[in-house]
């Protein structure tokens, strides 16, 4: 692991060195026309930092191209499924868990988090369909908040490992087997599953997110997971060591409760990994406003995690490295909005002083990375939708919306304003 990480850093370092070498001339010319400090700020955010991150990710993912398999386990497990007004999806999600090809027993703890719709009756409708080795229990948590619901479930867990699944996430038939095989074999504190977009056929906004999950999120998780430092074991589908989570004190009532928990586990030096073959299909926001709110929450969650556990407090060098890169993401969001977009406008007017040749190199390494992740996902043999309009929207609109929402989230966190449930 250390050797591969060193090789990755050398590759990314060489890339960065070459980029700086190219950037000096670029910055000099641009500085004739624009303030030098702004030019360097933009170049770092548009080319140097993303180039370093993406080239490292690309190289590391190539080094970890082979997908590991683990011996099958049949030990009993528990699934915590929290639902707040999820009448439309909860039954299907439970059914998906009951239909799992898992060798051991699965106990599903469905926590109704003060729902006011027909969630309860939907749970009871499928509860009795549980077959052999499958059991569904209904729990009620009156205190609103996902962390409270998860902790209610956690209190009832009796197995060594458990899995969290969102009420709107449908699992592939062998997802539980694979994620349990992984956590059991690698003795991780938590394992993030591989999420795809569920039924992305409704709106362009949903179609666009296919590629965010398929390429961006998966690439980052694989990169971090290769060094046992996945920074987010997402609540939508992850497996946890019961003892580790209890030692960490369970989930905190925060906007990004899953991020904070993962950071706390990493702080204790416990490994957090990623299992690409354990697949879940999650319902994504269908509207632009919904997506904006989600990304705002994620940004707040990231800052909550960083405030809770500072990068230098992380338990391993790798986790420290990745959390430092996460701090860099804030810089990248700002650079995209106030460097790339104005630079693009200038380029459209024939002035390539900000968005120039080096940006194209960075876009090229980004494209290479995305293509590699796409091929890797394809190699896993998991069916997923493709959409050309979605891909075009992903290229043209997604980053602008995400960076704006993230900036909004950072501001909210900065001014300590309370967000909403999810």
């Amino acid at each position: 692991m250390k050797g591969k990480f060193a090789a990755t850093m050398i590759f990314a370092g060489v890339w960065l060195g070459l980029s700086i070498w190219f950037a000096i001339g670029w910055a000099r010319e641009a500085s004739c026309y624009l303030p030098a400090a702004y030019v360097w700020w933009a170049i770092i955010g548009l080319a140097l930092l993303p180039g370093f991150m993406m080239s490292g990710m690309f190289f590391s993912n190539l080094l970890h191209w082979k997908c590991r398999t683990y011996p099958h386990t049949g030990q009993d497990t528990t699934v915590i499924l929290c639902a707040h007004n999820e009448e439309g999806t909860v039954a299907r999600t439970i059914q998906g868990i009951l239909d799992q090809d898992y060798l051991g027993k699965i106990r599903v703890l469905v926590v109704d988090n003060a729902s006011t719709d027909r969630t309860r009756s939907e749970i009871f409708r499928v509860k009795d369909l549980a077959g052999e080795n499958r059991q569904v229990e209904y729990l009620y948590c009156a205190q609103k908040g996902k962390a409270h619901a998860l902790n209610t479930g956690l209190a009832q867990v009796e197995t060594a490992y458990f899995i969290t699944v969102d009420a709107d996430t449908y699992l592939e038939k062998n997802a539980v087997q694979r994620i349990m095989d992984h956590i059991n074999a690698r003795q991780s504190a938590c394992v993030a599953g591989n999420l795809f977009v569920d039924r992305p056929t409704r709106t362009l906004c949903a179609k666009m997110q296919i590629y965010d999950y398929l390429m961006s999120i998966a690439a980052i998780k694989r990169f971090q997971g290769s060094y046992r430092s996945t920074l987010v074991a997402q609540g939508a589908f992850s497996a946890y060591s019961t003892q580790a989570v209890r030692q960490a004190g369970g989930w905190q009532d925060r906007m990004g409760e899953d991020i904070v928990l993962t950071y706390q586990l990493l702080e204790k030096g416990l490994p957090s990994t990623y299992e690409p073959r354990a697949v879940g299909y999650t319902t994504v926001p269908q509207t632009w406003n919904g997506l904006y709110n989600q990304r705002k929450r994620w940004a707040i969650g990231m800052l909550e995690g960083l405030s809770q556990v500072k990068p230098w407090q992380q338990g391993s060098f790798f986790a420290c490295h990745f959390t430092c890169l996460n701090v860099g993401v804030i810089y990248l969001d700002l650079a995209f909005l106030l460097g790339f977009i104005p630079g693009l406008v200038l380029a459209c007017m024939g002035c390539f002083c900000l968005v120039g040749a080096l940006t194209i190199f960075t876009v090229a390494v980004g494209a290479l990375l995305s293509a590699a992740v796409y091929l890797y996902q394809k190699k896993l043999g998991i069916p997923f939708h493709n959409s050309l309009p979605g891909f075009i929207a992903f290229l043209l609109v997604f980053q602008g919306l995400q960076s704006t929402a993230a900036l909004h989230g950072y501001m909210i966190h900065l001014f300590r304003r309370k967000g909403e449930w999810k």
Binding site: E29, C32, L34, C351, L407, M411
Partner: protein, 246 residues
């Protein structure tokens, strides 16, 4: 919630628009500098400063600034493959009234090339400049290293333009020598060769001020050529003695 999101997005959009406007102002305030003003007196001596090997992202801006501050028009012989990285600089040259000419595409010794290769070198440089200055046609070619043969002259398709005073500015740390190479040997009708290099950037202002003090009018190659006799022109532009220099 939706309203707050829209308001914040509009705020960010406003911020982006402001930054963009400031950047555009920064770029175009330089590009929209008024042209260098000059009233030529035909009875006073004239010399032309020419700069080879540009554009250089580092030194050309410094040279352009000095030329603008001293209101001195000059002639730039540009290398085609370097033009892409200096689009704004080339536009600025043209905008303020400098003359933009050809120094081949890849700065090769033309004497060592075939006829077809020589034509290619000029044609590719012409293509590059037209991408930046649509419709701009080179009138003069300065062969790299000052090296040419009769074949070069025939194949180039445009007039070769040489120099009469060599500043020898490619020697590092020799600013005093460069200065004296130019000002000690200058005479009316001379063409001085300089380069877009650090030494020139350091010594250029002194050269210009001294030449102006001596009463010389600094002009472009075209302005100088318009004033030369046919014999002087031929001596400068198509030298009477053929010598394939290296």
């Amino acid at each position: 919630m939706k309203r707050k999101n829209i308001c914040f997005a509009l705020f960010v959009l406003g911020l982006i628009a402001t930054v963009t406007a400031l950047l555009l102002w920064g770029v175009y305030s330089r590009l929209s500098r008024p042209p260098i003003t000059q009233t030529l007196d035909p009875d006073r001596p004239m010399v032309a400063l020419t700069f080879d090997d540009g554009p250089s992202p580092r030194y050309t801006p410094q040279i352009l600034d000095i030329l603008y501050q001293t209101q001195t028009p000059a002639t730039f012989f540009l290398v085609g493959e370097r033009m892409e990285g200096g689009r704004l600089l080339i536009r600025e040259m043209k905008a303020v009234g400098h003359q933009v000419e050809c120094h081949t595409y890849s700065h090769q010794n033309l004497s060592a090339l075939t006829g077809e290769e020589i034509r290619q070198e000029v044609a590719l440089a012409q293509e590059e400049v037209e991408k930046i200055l649509p419709g701009h046609k080179f009138r003069y070619l300065r062969p790299p290293y000052g090296s040419y043969t009769q074949k070069v002259e025939q194949e180039a398709g445009i007039t070769l333009a040489m120099w009469t005073v060599d500043s020898r500015d490619s020697e590092p740390g020799q600013e005093d020598k460069i200065y004296s190479n130019v000002v000690d040997h200058i005479k009316d009708g001379d063409v001085v060769v300089l380069h877009d290099c650090p030494e020139t950037a350091k010594v250029l202002e002194s050269i210009i001020l001294t030449l102006k003090e001596k009463g010389y009018q600094l002009v472009t190659l075209d302005q100088l050529a318009a004033r030369l006799t046919q014999e002087e022109k031929e001596a400068l532009i198509i030298p009477s003695t053929w010598k394939g220099k290296s």
